[in-house]
Symmetry: C2
Subunit: 311 residues, 2 copies
């Protein structure tokens, strides 16, 4: 089978064998935004030379404004629930393959305002496939950081923080960004820790952000350290603001899923707050899609639901 | 005398008579940023036809990267303190006039990180000139909202929130902005109130911001109401995050200084939180500069400080 993680900015393809091992991988910057109006064409090109029948797609490809809008599945939802809601689509030009979309997940009960995810549920599926029962807290940091609570194999709660997007906005377009050097990927641990500490002071985020400016102008942190200070400040607000306290007491441990660079920052912040960390690689999507497909096949073998009979 | 309020984006000039009455006014978009490298030229043109000897300038014109950097004056500072620190500059082409710059104010003791203002101290000077003794809380909403505590005629504490800038960034450059109609100046009180209420929920600002997206996607607020929801959310976080609680209990009343549109939003939010409001017009700067000049002249008549003897 082929597992496709198709987000706003990237298309990642994995050729997965029957045991769930990734045999080949492809990656392009033909995200769903760049592919608007020609999703079929982009996917056909990306798949060229791979003759597998089954293609599972997750991510923004199923969002409104993507290729084909998939309704959200409500939490709590486990592997079987998600696998049962895979939906086959029949775009022209793919008569030789079976294309399936994964639904996003929605949480309408934990908070006054609904929360949702699209794409991350597939990375989580890989974890659901291996984690033991009980309660687990998972964080997938990024443009929109996802915090998830798993209860006995089902995703119970979704809590999103716009940390990454706000960081990028401030870095690129704000008066604060003007005080900072171009992003060279360097990480200043001392400045990061100072920003993290600052997030625990009274005053609120909007006030602390202005402090980044005075901190920069006063020379306390130079233009190359200031981005790390801002990062520590925002991640600190994400953690203290509600991500950790979303349900009862702070967790003893958090599972982190994401790129090495982001995970290093989040692990540092969580460790400072005396919370244990277990890291997982970013590319769980292939494993998750395979787990969903395996689960769906197993369930169908037992009792094929009528609604899927025509597929 | 001529009072000049020269900020990053605008230059406002007022011709003030001996009694402090504004006789003429001029306004241009030649802010200090647009005027970089040719401040003298811009000012000379803007003053053409006004033959007054004395010109008092406040705002970003005295910032680093402005025309002439003025050091900050530390809080607490009252009218006499500020008036005593006016500094005369002698740029070429202004031999026939006396140009004076007003220092910005800095608060290095109230919080772990210093806070500061440049320009607003002049609007506050107009208030200092008329307010009775005791404690007063003043808010000057804007790109960077300034909250000030006045104790017996002296500015004691400065607390800035980056509310206006963050609003503009999100509106213009974020995924949230993509869900909103172009700004037509319309205000949706119902959506504003909902955002304000939301700011009191647990979860933190970064989480609530993502909720603006789901609120928009779910259709709860349409593209023309969503900006008011975001505005209420951000102003709510500004108020609850620390602006109100900066010193002891919440004040019974807040003085608001600013444009009618902004003041309407802040007054609505404060009233909802059961805090009284007294509004003041935006163009206090002319009155404030006149008050500073009058105070300086009076003090000099009593005891001219040696340091100013050469002016």
């Amino acid at each position: 089978m082929i597992a496709a993680d198709w987000g706003s900015t990237h298309l990642r393809l994995y050729r997965v064998d029957g045991d769930g091992m990734v045999r080949e991988r492809r990656r392009s910057d033909q995200g769903t935004q760049a592919s608007r109006g020609r999703h079929g064409e982009v996917l056909a090109e990306a798949l060229a030379g791979w003759d597998d029948d089954t293609v599972l797609l997750c991510g923004m490809v199923g969002a409104r404004g993507g290729w084909h809008e998939m309704p959200y599945l409500d939490c709590p939802a486990g592997l079987d629930d998600i696998a049962g809601q895979l939906q086959r689509i029949h775009p022209p030009g793919f008569e030789q393959r079976a294309l399936w979309l994964v639904p996003g997940l929605r949480d309408t009960v934990s908070d006054m305002v609904p929360d949702a995810m699209r794409g991350e549920e597939t990375q989580l599926a890989a974890l659901l496939d291996v984690l033991p029962g009980g309660v687990h807290r998972v964080c997938l940091p990024g443009t929109h950081s996802k915090w998830v609570t798993i209860h006995d194999g089902r995703i119970q709660r979704i809590h999103t923080a716009m940390t990454g997007e706000v960081y990028a906005l401030l870095r690129t377009h704000s008066l604060l960004g003007a005080l900072m050097a171009a992003d060279d990927g360097r990480f200043d641990g001392y400045a990061f820790d100072a920003g993290l500490r600052r997030s625990g002071d009274p005053g609120g985020l909007l006030h602390h952000l202005f402090g980044v400016r005075t901190t920069g102008l006063s020379g306390q942190f130079g233009e190359s350290a200031l981005p790390s200070y801002l990062s520590g400040l925002l991640i600190g607000h994400e953690l203290r603001g509600g991500a950790l306290s979303q349900e009862g007491p702070r967790p003893a441990q958090v599972h982190l899923v994401g790129s090495e660079r982001l995970l290093a920052a989040y692990a540092r912040a969580l460790t400072t707050l005396e919370i244990g960390v277990q890291r997982h690689p970013e590319d769980l999507a292939a494993r998750g899609l395979h787990a969903l497909w395996r689960r769906r096949s197993a369930n169908l073998a037992v009792a094929p639901p009528a609604a899927l009979a025509t597929d």
